[in-house]
Structures are given as structure tokens and as C-alpha cells.
């Protein structure tokens, strides 16, 4: 008996759903094995996890709060990856979105709330796009690898962010009180800059949806329409499939690289604006950097196979996990569990991709068996 891995002759459609689902189930089983090994009861742990993420009081609301930035960075990554443009810089672009949006919120404090919020969205998008334009220009005109430049610029963006609050008396820093001078923090945004949220379900666990999440869903719809219904999207598709075919078709490849890079950065930047307006209400370097939203977004985009709607769904799933992880951390709950699970989900999802293209077959004996006797008399 031996196991052979062969290329599938055809790829049935149901595999597109079955393989990702199966890989998540496999990841849960593997995490369960880890739990058993460390002396925990997996059923109990999963039950608590599920409650904390989706069922308990405020659980769903908190999950959406965690999911919102992930949805933005996931969409940002998906927008660029569709064209085989690997923008790893959503992290830094989100910081720049947050910086610009906070500046808009502070500077335009006298504007009416609706206008101010719109201005923050625009400023955030602009900030993210401007930061993404750097690797975009380098890629388009100098053929620099955008993976490396966009990744490195994340660290630059983080340093700039820290400088603005911790190492300088910048416009963003709160200097109004003596304590604020000793313990640096951002200036609080005016009330008009607080983004609204809507309570959908008031009884039971409750569900409050912040404006940012609504914007993320709108961006997902817009991205889908852009990529499947417009000439721009068509060009992105062609470029994503064959760069040479795109040149041959007369598509201006440089412009497109720059445009898609900026689009991707703009989406991440709106995520930064949403952090300011929805949740933090000041420019908060520590909070923004702790979560690693940009990197999680890459994982989400990969799991969603760059489909914008799937990005929103998967960001809810991972957001739920993160949220439950924060909520349950303690003596009786392994604090690394959520990280282990996230890692295993990604591992299984990428590993199982193989099964879409190949199938595993068990054969009786290694190698081909001759249908006629091998020692035929040579008469």
C-alpha cells in the first residue's frame, strides 16, 4: 500500500467551499489536541470561547469592534493582491490614515458633525493612499519589489507615529495639563468627531454596530463592483493574470500599479480614521500598534481568496476569536490559545489549498504494475 498525490483532472465547484470549511474544522481539532495535551477540557474551552465571541452580553458588539479594523486591512490587502501587487504595508497605511484623520478632526473642530466625519474619512483615505504611493511609485517606475518597500515603510510609519506623541510637542499631542506633559498622549478629538453607532438589538446580549463597520461593508460592495463591473477592474484582472498580456492589450501598467496601490492604501487609511473616530477618539500610537491589524489583514485576505465579501465574514470570525481571547484571559484559560488557534487556522487553510488541485489516492503497491507478465519468454 502506498499513498500517491495526483493532480486533479478537474476541480469541482463544491471544493471551493468544502476545503476552507474542512480546514477550519481541522484547525479546531488540532487546537483541541493541544488543549488535551496541556490538561484542559477542549469542549469546555470551546464553549466558553464561542460564548465570549458571539453569545454573551456585548459579545457580538465587541466582536464587531475587533473585526472593523481587520475588515479594512483585509480589504486593502485583497484590493492589491488581486493584481498580484503585494502590498504588505496596510499596517503603516492605517497609521497614516489615523494621523491624517486625527488632524482633520482636530483642525476642523468647528464643523458640523456629519461634515467633520466625512472630512475624517477623506483625510484618512488620503493619508493611507499617500503613504502607499511611495512603494507604488517605486514599483511602477523603478521596478522595486513592493513587498520589501511596503513592509519596511511600516516601521517608518510606526516611528513617525511614536514621534508625534512621545518625542515631540506636535499638533496631535495633548499639552493642556501638567500630567499630559509627563505621560504623553494624543489630544482628545472634539465631540463632533465621534462617529455614531447604532444599537440594533437592545435586549439580551445586545448588538451595537459602529459607523466604521458600515463603512467597511460599503467599501466591500464598492470594491466588488469596481473589480467585476468596470473597465478599471477589467484591467486589474488582466494585469493580475498576465503582465505581458496587459502590455500587449495597451493597458498602461504603471498608472495601474500606482492607482491600485493608492486604492489599497486608502482603504487601510479609512481603517485608521475609523480607529480615531469610532473607538479611540485620539491619536493612540500604543493601541494602534499593539494589535497588528495590517498583518492580520493579509491573513484574512488570503483566507478569503481576495473576495471582498468573504473578507468581511472572515474578519468577523477572527475578530470574534481576538475578542474572546481578551475577554477570557486568566488563570483558568490558556492565554496563548487564541494565538495558537489563529496560527493553526492559517496553517491548515494554506496547507489544504493543495487539496483543491491535487487528490490523495491510496494504491495497493508502489509504482505501476505491468498488465502482462514482466518475464515474457523472448521466443
Amino acid at each position: 500500500m502506498s499513498v500517491r498525490i495526483e493532480r486533479r483532472l478537474e476541480q469541482p465547484r463544491w471544493l471551493g467551499v468544502a476545503v476552507p470549511t474542512g480546514s477550519i474544522v481541522l484547525a479546531l481539532l488540532l487546537t483541541g489536541a493541544v488543549l488535551l495535551l496541556t490538561g484542559h477540557d477542549p469542549v469546555h474551552a470551546y464553549h466558553r470561547l464561542f460564548n465570549a465571541a458571539f453569545v454573551g452580553k456585548d459579545a457580538l458588539t465587541q466582536t464587531i469592534v475587533s473585526a472593523t479594523p481587520l475588515a479594512f486591512t483585509g480589504l486593502a490587502a485583497a484590493a492589491a493582491f488581486r493584481m498580484q501587487l503585494f502590498n504588505i504595508g496596510a499596517e503603516g497605511q492605517l497609521y497614516f490614515g489615523a494621523i491624517f484623520a486625527a488632524a482633520a478632526g482636530l483642525y476642523l473642530h468647528s464643523w458640523p458633525s456629519a461634515l467633520l466625519i466625512a472630512a475624517m474619512v477623506v483625510a484618512g483615505a488620503f493619508g493611507g493612499a499617500a503613504w502607499a504611493a511611495i512603494p507604488g511609485v517605486l514599483r511602477a517606475f523603478c521596478r522595486t519589489n513592493e513587498i520589501i518597500t511596503s513592509l519596511m515603510l511600516n516601521y517608518v510609519a510606526a516611528l513617525i507615529l511614536n514621534y508625534l506623541i512621545f518625542d515631540s510637542l506636535s499638533y496631535w499631542r495633548d499639552t493642556s495639563t501638567p500630567e499630559a506633559k509627563v505621560f504623553p498622549q494624543g489630544k482628545l478629538l472634539p465631540d463632533a468627531a465621534n462617529w455614531p453607532s447604532w444599537g440594533i438589538v437592545h435586549s439580551g446580549p445586545g448588538l451595537v454596530i459602529p459607523l466604521g463597520f458600515g463603512v467597511a461593508v460599503l467599501v466591500a460592495v464598492g470594491l466588488w463592483a469596481l473589480y467585476s463591473r468596470t473597465r478599471f477592474g477589467f484591467e486589474v484582472q488582466v494585469l493580475g493574470d498576465s503582465w505581458r498580456a496587459a502590455r500587449y492589450a495597451g493597458i498602461r501598467t504603471r498608472r495601474k500599479i500606482l492607482a491600485v496601490m493608492c486604492l489599497s492604501g486608502a482603504i487601510a487609511g479609512i481603517g485608521g480614521a475609523s480607529q480615531d473616530g469610532d473607538f479611540r477618539h485620539l491619536l493612540d500610537p500604543r493601541g494602534l500598534q499593539q494589535a497588528g491589524y495590517g498583518y492580520a489583514g493579509i491573513v484574512i485576505a488570503a483566507l478569503a481568496r481576495y473576495n471582498p465579501f468573504a473578507v468581511v465574514l472572515i474578519s468577523l470570525l477572527l475578530g470574534g476569536l481576538q475578542n474572546a481571547g481578551y475577554a477570557l484571559q486568566g488563570a483558568d484559560f490558556p492565554s496563548g490559545l487564541v494565538g495558537v488557534m489563529e496560527g493553526l487556522i492559517l496553517f491548515c487553510a494554506l496547507g489544504c489549498e493543495l487539496l483543491r488541485r491535487y487528490r490523495v489516492r491510496v494504491v495497493r503497491r508502489a509504482g505501476p504494475e505491468p498488465s502482462v507478465p514482466a518475464t515474457e519468454p523472448t521466443s
Binding site: E6, R7, R8, L9, E10, R229, T230, R231, F232, G233, F234, Q237, V238, D241, S242, R244, A245, A246, R247, Y248, A249, G250, I251, R252, G367, P368, P370, S371, V372, A374, T378, S379
Partner: protein, 509 residues
């Protein structure tokens, strides 16, 4: 001439089956070649020749079937096993390291004797290589670097590699594709002398004349099956062609369109210079013109600037000097979109990577150049309808508008490319190797379309390495050699030999 019954054949394949996604490349193929024989493997593209040779050399493992060498069953787990068993292959695209010398390439991957020592002794290897070259008429300097050699010389290095390893069986995949007719003649002499030395040569080809010239027996593959094995002495090109295609072929060759003096010049290229990918001067002052309704053929051995010429005219490669004009209007350099607008259509050499976006649907690929309609939105219904029309008008088989382009066979893919290019009603068509890799029926279809287009007044620049194609289609022939035009010929008077001389850089006519 039958083998003595007691000696088992050098190679015997039985019931080889190999499946790939969507195709059965080999379907219970039987094949046998004796020691001391040149055995041709004949078949159209897609008939399974390359797959079968990859099975023989251990690159693929067959799904079913068995391999015997000199009567002993063998199983190849990797190309190394096959090499150790004495089977070598010369691929269409050579497997040589450009920065290494001939001798270094020859010992590369060999793990016996000289090549196994920690320090190489280049002198000894070079001497051995020179000896082998002498013995089999494979003149090449063993100390030269590969990148300095012509394609014909590189091929000799590949053969020397096999000889150095003392391979008993040598498989050559379409070896004459990169050679001039004269070079091919020399290769045949070498192959015969290797066979006389007791080796087995498997000669893969789809050119009937070559098979007759060099091989003693021929096995014909069709649609993944072996349909016949016969001595070449009994076969005629006509009978082989029928076996290959599976039906009788009409041998009528329609007359080319004759031009009248007043047909206007449409495409004009003056003193065109362009660099190749490695920065070398690939085009050195090419001037040519094509008139409406004319097919101008550019002949030449691959790598003499053909690709650069096609790319420069279609805007894909900015020329360093010179001008290109269509109907007297000069084109900007290196701008494919403006070239398309000026009415230049392009059938690129690389169909699958350049001519289409392989993962996108036929509908998307039909719209590749015509999607720029009014407004930001795609006119998806119109695109689908046009694709359906193209599939119908150009008889694209086994596909709907939603089929990804890469699932099409070469011939059907070329129909999609041609259909799309013609749909823009261009005034100039640059066709680069438009029938390379196509089967006989598809070649006839493509030729028909090109003739019809010329008859409708299109100016066609046909860049091809296939002399039969050029002689069949062209109104005029120019030869490209090392980036320069080496002469102009009239197809009525020209012989293959004359063109061959020019292709090899011989005296201008």
C-alpha cells in the same frame, strides 16, 4: 528489416498511460526501438510525443504501463534514474548553464569518474569532449562559454553531454527547429553515425521529410495513442501525413493574391534599431515596407531579432532609433495602445502568456483590446455576445465564452487570437510564428485566415521560422540575420537552399 528475435529491443514501452487535468496525454502507448536504430516518433502537436519522452526520461511517472530497457523492466523515480540507466534527452529548450564552459556543462550532473572528484580537471574533460566531437562530427570548442555559442552549437553540446555519459539511448525533441537546413543535414549525419555505433536514437518530429531522411523506422502517435510503426522506406510523406492526421489530406495549395503596382504602402519601417533583453543590439537598422494586400515574410533562424522586430513595430519594445509609420503617420515609440489605435494588429509569438490572459475567460480575452467603450463600466453583455460570435465565426471548438483561455488547445487558442485581432479591422497585421506548435488542420485554418485577410487588403508582416509556411504564403521574402536584413527574395524563384544560406549568414543574393 526485422530484428533478430533473440535480442530484446533497447527500449520497450508497453501500455503507457499518462493523464493530466482535462487530457489523457498518453493512452496505452506501445513503443519499441532497437539498438543501432534511428527511430522517429512522429505526430502532431498534442499527440503525446513530448509526454512520452518525458516518461522515458523519468520526468513523469506513468499512471499505467511498463518500461523495459534491453529486456529488463525498469522503474524511473526521477530523471537521475533514467540517466543512470543510459537514457539522455535533448530538449527543445536546452538545459545548459550559460555562464559555464562547454566542458563544465558536459560534466554537470554527472556523478561518475572525472566529475565526481572534488577538484575538476578541465583539461582532461576538454580533451575527452574534443575527442567525442571529432568522432561524431560535433565541432565545438570545449573551452567556450555557452552564451557565446549559436543555438546549433548549443545543441551539439547537449548531444556531447549524452555521449560523454555513454548514454545508450538518446531522445531528441524537434531538434531541427533551431537549425538551418544545412545544419540539419549535418545533424542527420551525426545521428546516423551514433546509431552505427550501436546507440538508439529516438527522433521526435512533425516534419515528414526529416523523418524520411534520417530514421529507419517510424512510430506515429495520434491523439495520445500509437497508431502505427513502419519502416520509413515503405512510407511516403503523404501516407505518414494521413496516419498523423487520421484522414486524407487535400494537397491543394491555393494561389496567393497577386499585387498590382498601385497598391499603397501601409506599413513602413525605416532604419529601425532596438535592444534585446540582455541589452545587446538585436536590431541593426532594419528597413522594410509592406503594401496593402501583401504578405511580407521575414525568415530567419530564431534569435536573430525576430521577436524584437515584432515587438518594436507593435509598441511593446521602444526602438532606440528609426521610425515606424502606418499610412505615412509616424508612431510614437514604445506605446502599444497608440499602435493598436493606428491599426496594427499583433499575433504574438507567445500565444498563451502574451496573446491572452490565460486564466481569464474567452469573453474577457475577446475584449482584451476592445473593452475601452464609453463610460467607466464594462459592457458585459456586449462582450459576451462578441465572444459567442467569435466562437461561431472562427469555429472555436469545445468552448463557451466562459471557458478559461488556457483550457483551449493551441489551434483553438490561435483562432481566438486571430478572431480578436481581425475584429478591430486593422490595416496591418504582425504575425509572429502564427502556426508554431499547431497541428496540420489548424495550420491550414490559420493560413486560410491570413490569405483571406491579405485578399481583403490587409498588410501582413509574417515572421516565421518555417520555410514551408513562408513559401506557401509570402509575396516577398526578406531574411533576418543578426538583426539585419540579409536579402530579399521572390518566393516563386527562391529555393529552400538559397533561403537557408541567407539564414546562416551566407552571402547576400
Amino acid at each position: 528489416m526485422s530484428e533478430p528475435a533473440s535480442t530484446p529491443p533497447a527500449v520497450r514501452l508497453r501500455g503507457i498511460t499518462k493523464r493530466f487535468p482535462g487530457v489523457v496525454a498518453n493512452d496505452a502507448v506501445d513503443f519499441e526501438a532497437a539498438a543501432g536504430e534511428v527511430h522517429a516518433l512522429l505526430g502532431e502537436n498534442g499527440a503525446g510525443k513530448t509526454t512520452l519522452s518525458n516518461v522515458m526520461t523519468g520526468l513523469y511517472r506513468p499512471d499505467e504501463g511498463s518500461i523495459e530497457l534491453f529486456g529488463r523492466p525498469v522503474e524511473f523515480r526521477s530523471p537521475r534514474d533514467a540517466l543512470d540507466a543510459g537514457i539522455s534527452m535533448v530538449h527543445q529548450h536546452f538545459r545548459l548553464v550559460g555562464a559555464f564552459t562547454v566542458a563544465e556543462n558536459v560534466v554537470l550532473g554527472d556523478h561518475r569518474g572525472e566529475a565526481r572528484t572534488f577538484r575538476l580537471h578541465p583539461r582532461r574533460i576538454e580533451r575527452r569532449v574534443a575527442e567525442l566531437g571529432e568522432q561524431f562530427g560535433l565541432a565545438v570548442d570545449p573551452g567556450a562559454k555557452i552564451w557565446q555559442l549559436s543555438l546549433g552549437e548549443q545543441q551539439r553540446v547537449e548531444i556531447l553531454k549524452a555521449l560523454y555519459r555513454e548514454s545508450r539511448v538518446l531522445i531528441l525533441d524537434e531538434p531541427t527547429a533551431v537549425l538551418t537546413p544545412q545544419e540539419a543535414e549535418k545533424l542527420f549525419v551525426t545521428l546516423r553515425s551514433m546509431a552505427d555505433d550501436g546507440r538508439t536514437i529516438v527522433f521526435i518530429s512533425h516534419k515528414l521529410n526529416e523523418v524520411k531522411a534520417v530514421a529507419r523506422r517510424v512510430t506515429v502517435l495520434r491523439g495520445g495513442r500509437s497508431v502505427a510503426t513502419a519502416p520509413t522506406a515503405d512510407a511516403t510523406p503523404q501516407s505518414l501525413a494521413e496516419l498523423m492526421v487520421g484522414r486524407e489530406l487535400a494537397s491543394t495549395r491555393p494561389e496567393r493574391v497577386e499585387l498590382t503596382a498601385e497598391d499603397e504602402t501601409v506599413l513602413e519601417v525605416e532604419d529601425l534599431w532596438a535592444d534585446g533583453d540582455r541589452g545587446e543590439k538585436a536590431l541593426r537598422g532594419v528597413s522594410l515596407h509592406v503594401r496593402a494586400g501583401e504578405i511580407l515574410a521575414v525568415a530567419g533562424v530564431a534569435g536573430n531579432g525576430q521577436r524584437e522586430l515584432a515587438e518594436a513595430i507593435t509598441g511593446l519594445r521602444p526602438p532606440t532609433r528609426g521610425r515606424i509609420s502606418v499610412r505615412g503617420k509616424r508612431l510614437p515609440a514604445g506605446d502599444p495602445r497608440r499602435a493598436i489605435r493606428a491599426g496594427i494588429a499583433h499575433v504574438p509569438e507567445d500565444r498563451l502568456g502574451t496573446g491572452v490572459a490565460p486564466s481569464l475567460t474567452i469573453a474577457s480575452n475577446t475584449a482584451l483590446k476592445s473593452y475601452r467603450t464609453q463610460g467607466p463600466f464594462l459592457r458585459r453583455r456586449l462582450i459576451r455576445r462578441r465572444a459567442d460570435e467569435l466562437i461561431r465565426d472562427f469555429d472555436v471548438r469545445g468552448a463557451t465564452h466562459a471557458t478559461p483561455a488556457r483550457q483551449l488547445s493551441g489551434g483553438n487558442l490561435q483562432k481566438v487570437v486571430l478572431g480578436r485581432e481581425f475584429s478591430a479591422q486593422p490595416s496591418v497585421l504582425v504575425a509572429a510564428s502564427p502556426t508554431r506548435g499547431l497541428d496540420v488542420a489548424a495550420i491550414a485554418t490559420v493560413h486560410g485566415h491570413l490569405r483571406d485577410a491579405a485578399a481583403d487588403g490587409m498588410a501582413i508582416l509574417l515572421i516565421s521560422e518555417d520555410l514551408d509556411e513562408i513559401l506557401a504564403l509570402a509575396n516577398r521574402i526578406v531574411v533576418l540575420y543578426e538583426g539585419e536584413l540579409a536579402g530579399e527574395l521572390d518566393p516563386h524563384g527562391a529555393t529552400v537552399n538559397e533561403i537557408g544560406l541567407l539564414m546562416a549568414g551566407g552571402a547576400r543574393v
